[in-house]
Symmetry: C2
Subunit: 241 residues, 2 copies
């Protein structure tokens, strides 16, 4: 597990962190790239939550529409039982703004020093920002909720115009679908362009390969420092988190 500073560690054991009200595509967009990669490379996945109860995408917050529209995923490990990981994926979701997430944040803070890579998708960066792990680093997150995202980490060098940002071994992606592009970029970084392209062609996905491609920043008025009044959607109606 010890590596020279200039060596690029190859991850084989992946974890994904779940909490109630996570956004499904934040998880399954990037993870399905790896599901497919795992058909040709030996990779392992652990699905981690506070308890072993299935974790729902249902929001902890009250539902104003009366919809019953959610999915439940079965964890394989708790914060206490997860084996060593090379890579941890932290999704976002409207659940990131629910109370009771301190144990989840503490888990990320505790495991980070043993990780080779940490990746967040969407408001996953806002979820972990209070741990201080992103302080002094460049990072990005959901553009519709940019004002809230950035408020979670006043010492972070937030990058408004970015599909994803890499700083050291921490990868942060923009909102929801951006996690797929971040993961294809990560696969390219680790296993090369041919591998990344082959996966994308197999999954019939057109990658955005430029980390600066981000029409959503302008659309939602996301800037850094913040432009007063812009990018301040609270996501309470219409979602997108």
């Amino acid at each position: 597990m010890t590596t020279c500073a200039d060596e690029k560690p190859i991850p084989t054991t992946f974890g994904v962190l779940l909490f109630p009200g996570f956004q499904a595509l934040d998880v399954f967009g990037p993870i399905d790239v790896l599901n497919t990669l795992a058909l040709s490379k030996k990779l392992n996945l652990h699905i981690i939550a506070e308890t072993l109860d299935p974790v729902t995408t249902k929001l902890p917050q009250p539902n104003t529409t009366g919809s019953e529209f959610h999915e439940c995923i079965v964890p394989t490990h708790t914060f206490a039982t997860v084996p060593p990981l090379d890579f941890l994926l932290v999704p976002g979701g409207l659940g990131t703004r629910a109370p009771g997430l301190d144990p989840t944040r503490q888990f990320v803070k505790n495991i980070y020093p043993s990780l080779k890579y940490l990746m967040t998708v969407c408001t996953g960066s806002a979820l972990i920002a209070p741990t201080g792990l992103l302080d002094g680093r460049s990072a990005t997150g959901n553009k519709k909720l940019w004002a809230w995202v950035t408020s979670q980490g006043p010492k972070v060098n937030w990058v408004a115009q970015a599909r994803w940002v890499v700083d050291g071994n921490i990868w942060t992606s923009s909102g929801i679908a951006a996690g797929m592009d971040a993961m294809y970029a990560f696969v390219k970084y680790i296993w090369g362009e041919e591998q990344s392209k082959d996966l994308a062609m197999s999954l019939e996905y057109e990658r955005h390969t430029d980390p600066h491609w981000d029409p959503f920043a302008e659309y939602w008025g996301a800037t850094w420092p913040l432009t007063p009044g812009a990018g301040s959607g609270d996501g309470s109606a219409g979602g997108g988190d």
Copy 2:
């Protein structure tokens, strides 16, 4: 529930069909569009499988890499207990080529007459083709596995160059990621372009809005009728299903 022939029925109750070895993004790409729509419209989702046991993305076929990389989803209903549905999503996945899927096919065949809409993603069209539901209709599916897909429905008017195809109330999409574009197109069809665009901007997804956009057909040599020797990948290495 009775509607005039020229009326466009609005679906509110959705179902997704799961089976072992389904492809995660086939489900969660389209479904997460609806997860988000359900924050502003009253929609319900039922997750349907042969039994109520969690359904794994793990392939029924032997795993040659030694990977343990899969996710398990909790069904809400079995084939026997599912309430009436307006819309059924049928994903694909390498599991479509496992034995024992006759009850799954029979469920789709039995429920179809009561549906307002049926959508397949990827090899989902190949899964249901043996039921005859696609006979005489235009349909598409996974391009890497095109030869196998089309072999499952000799009486289907297969469309090689298509991101998705609509024939009557059956929507079939191309491979994996194409399911997202098909769902955004469906949302546009039902609720209008502004709703579809708002969802895509919130999920930071760049839609392909042209159903004929399909660079993957050429890449994988998918034609109809088949060109001998082309588009005949069996997906046994590198996946993509």
